[in-house]
Amino acid sequence: MTAWFDVGLALMALGLAWRAIATRRAFDSTVAFVIYGLVLTIAWVRLGAYDVALTEAAVGSGLTGALLLGAAHRLERAPADEDRPSAPLRALLAVACAGVALGLGAVVLALPQVEPLQAVAAASAAEATGLLNPVNNVLMAFRAIDTVLEKMVLFAALVGVWSLAPDAAWGRRPGRRFPPAAEGPLTLFARVLPPVGVLIAAHLLWVGADAPGGAFQGATILAAMILLVRLAGLADAPPVSSRALRLLIVLGPAAFLGVGMAGVVLAGAPFAYPAAHAKAIILVVEFAMLVSVAATLALLVVGPPERAQAAP
């Protein structure tokens, strides 16, 4: 029975992936992609990869969906781009893409059956940091420098988005202003849901030490709550020139980098933690990252400043 369930899941994933690529309407493609994310989440759970499932749920279907929906909406208002590439070029692209897909498939099938990522070593070294979640051990301790660079990439992406602002709008509030809705379901929803979201974000960060969860997953939920309050018109985004906002964005990467560098003095190597306080330090760094990543993700979805006149 479970085999049929898995086959059905795989077929749905393939069908939705095909739909997301094949349709020429951005909106249909986005909806297919969001459901594809949900199907993948279930597939990861079936495979026992709960950390991946949580990340897919948080990033793949939630926030990316909102981002793509906004992009699809914007593309429709833009003048349509009618130049289709010539038939030989399209054939060449199809062959190249199929080649990449087949090559990736061949590589996955050719993987050795031994544990290539030293998962056993990561799991057995849990006492070194006081965290019981091997994934989080790898992210925050064994490969901490990769995680820092990952946060820097988010920061660079935000700089890229902001650099699209027209000169006249630079320094103003980003995105458009959503008018405050009259008292109604949306206002109620945007008041009731964020406290729950903040609680769940903190919960994911906290359980991330010992079970699937973590700062990034919590941050996506926090970002969604920030965006919800903005969509309901209850609050506007702060101006991009705001110093407090910029400090908030830099806080997480700076804390991580600072703690990593302090490791040279305190523990004898960059990104090493003093063993007695490793868990406490990691949680503090993760909390700083939760706030910064949430702010950065929300600002990435909101977009560049584009209002010509100052907001009232």
């Binding site: 909806v31 759970v45 909406h73």
Partner: protein, 84 residues
């Protein structure tokens, strides 16, 4: 008990998957989005059932994250995507 939960998950998945028809050829965008929300709700139910069947409490957190974010996606659609 676990087998019963897997059966229930399969039944919910099969019923909700019918909604894909509306996603693929729903006459309006609202139809697509409502079907996507239905599949989201069903997907959360499937996750909870197979999670409990597999004895993995972490799946409850996955379902919780999905529930919060799919509600948000609906609002994003109404205010961002549907308005012409």
């Amino acid at each position: 008990m676990a087998a019963l939960m897997i059966w229930a998950a399969v039944a919910i998945a099969a019923i909700v998957a019918v909604g894909l028809v509306r996603v693929l050829c729903g006459p309006t965008r609202a139809d697509s989005m409502m079907a996507a929300q239905l599949i989201g709700t069903g997907g959360i139910a499937v996750l909870l059932l197979i999670g409990v069947a597999a004895g993995a409490p972490a799946v409850v957190d996955v379902a919780l994250a999905l529930a919060l974010l799919s509600a948000f996606a609906g609002v994003g659609f109404v205010l961002g995507g549907a308005r012409r």
